[in-house]
């Protein structure tokens, strides 16, 4: 086996810390939220010290997530703007799922699927923040009517399920596409990974001094 080029840097230390704060808070929010959403999952409140503590802590974790995700949003939103190649990529989603992505246009730092994950989570988390504040009776009970709170409860639950579904896609994609997870644990990927999945981005990276 020959010596390969040194790994390609994909995420700075700051971006990785930012990502993992978001990831941990999202998982905690999903667990505490599901505990109060479905009676069969109420036992999950035990992870947070009981029902009352779950009710108290959930919105505060939400604040952490909102701030943390805002950081990710500003780091990455320019890289996630849609272009024509993304439309072609989406039309060939079947080939991607079948591990036959060779014929597709070269991909920049993010492919169309990753961009959809980014925008999906951005919109849903914003909606969760807004509806969550309406439901945060401890501080905001008097600012909205009961009907607005009812609507918020439905929106909050719907968006949360959306976020969890996108999260499953996000995590599964990282497991499925080998060599991906080290980008978020070590900050770098192999040249082969970059060449195979994000060649346009790879060309820019190796071109840098």
């Amino acid at each position: 086996m020959s010596e390969h080029i040194k790994p390609v840097s994909r995420y700075t230390t700051g971006a990785r810390i930012n990502h993992w704060i978001t990831a941990v808070s999202l998982i905690l929010l999903a667990l505490s939220g599901m505990a109060l959403f479905h009676p069969s999952l109420y036992f999950l409140t035990g992870l947070f010290g009981g029902g009352e503590f779950t009710r108290v802590i959930h919105p505060w974790i939400g604040v952490v997530l909102a701030i943390s995700f805002l950081g990710l949003f500003f780091r990455f939103f320019t890289l996630n703007l849609w272009n024509r190649d993304d439309t072609v990529w989406m039309k060939n989603l079947g080939a991607v799922i079948n591990n036959k992505e060779e014929g597709l246009p070269e991909v920049g730092k993010y492919n169309a699927g990753q961009k959809l994950v980014f925008w999906g989570q951005s919109i849903l988390i914003f909606a969760l923040l807004c509806s969550g504040v309406v439901l945060w009776d401890t501080y905001f009970a008097t600012y909205t009517t009961i009907d607005q709170k009812r609507l918020s409860a439905v929106i909050h639950a719907l968006c949360a399920i959306g976020v969890i579904l996108i999260w499953i896609v996000h995590v599964y994609a990282a497991i499925w596409v080998k060599g991906t997870i080290r980008a978020m644990t070590q900050g770098s990927v192999t040249g082969g990974w970059a060449w195979k999945h994000h060649r346009k981005w790879f060309r820019q990276e190796v071109g840098k001094p």
């Binding site: 109060l36 029902g51 009710r55 409860a153 080998k178 060449w195 195979k196 190796v206």
Partner: protein
Amino acid sequence: MSVLQALDLRRRSASSVPPPAAGKPAAVAVAKLIDVSKCIGCKACQAACLEWNQLDQPIGYTDGTYDNPTDLTTASWTVMRFTEYEHGDDLEWLIRKDGCMHCDDPGCLKACPAPGAIVQYTNGIVDFVSENCIGCGYCLKGCPFNIPRISQTTSKAYKCTLCSDRVVVGQAPACAKACPTQAIYFGTKDDMIAHAGKRIVDLKSRGYQNAGLYNPQGVGGTHVMYVLQHADKPSLYAGLPDNPHISPLVGIWKGVMKPLSLAAIAFAGAFGFLHYITKGPNTVSEHDEAKADELAAGKDRA
């Protein structure tokens, strides 16, 4: 309030209830009947409620009406609401004793996420069980009558218990006991409906053509009922809902959404697993690495 073990449960929030033991006689549904036409607005019922339940309502302020306090609170589980109803040259004072209606189909209980924080006894009384309450405020969203209140100090929800701790030992609720004009009756629901019938006949003979019983079917009937002089317009009585029902939003939230959401999550997980075992992982080959080296070397030379 804690659960009264002498009473059987019909419903329990966020959990299922085993049917009562075989051979046990079915519980008799109870009801409180409030005859608005006989109420003089003395507030003895409010005082009795505070006293029996050992509640302390801090002195508040007046907003220019006789309502005191101006709304239900965590201590005032019942409040007389005064309405001046003018029609033609006539002025009527409609005084409604507001409080929990003890719905047969309780929206608070359906919305509650904490197992056993809200119970409905087989006699129809809906009770909050503080030790299980987590203070989330979902009961406020489920309630069609805007009754429960969350305490700022204990972060628990409170409302009228229909004096379940008195009823269980064969006593009438404190408010009914204290009422000097017998505007508040308590007994079996059947007896209360029958008694209301007589009162309505009397009211009609006195010119109240639209007198009637308020026992709204949109919530399955209630275990607190009113005799109203103008039963065709319940909203005259300080906004008593004309046709109360559990909000369809709460129905979606606490109904179809729960199983569908879990199914969607399970499906997504299963799809991922199946994809992995059928299509396999997407791996980077030695060829890809070589191509990367080639490209990088080319750039270096350039």
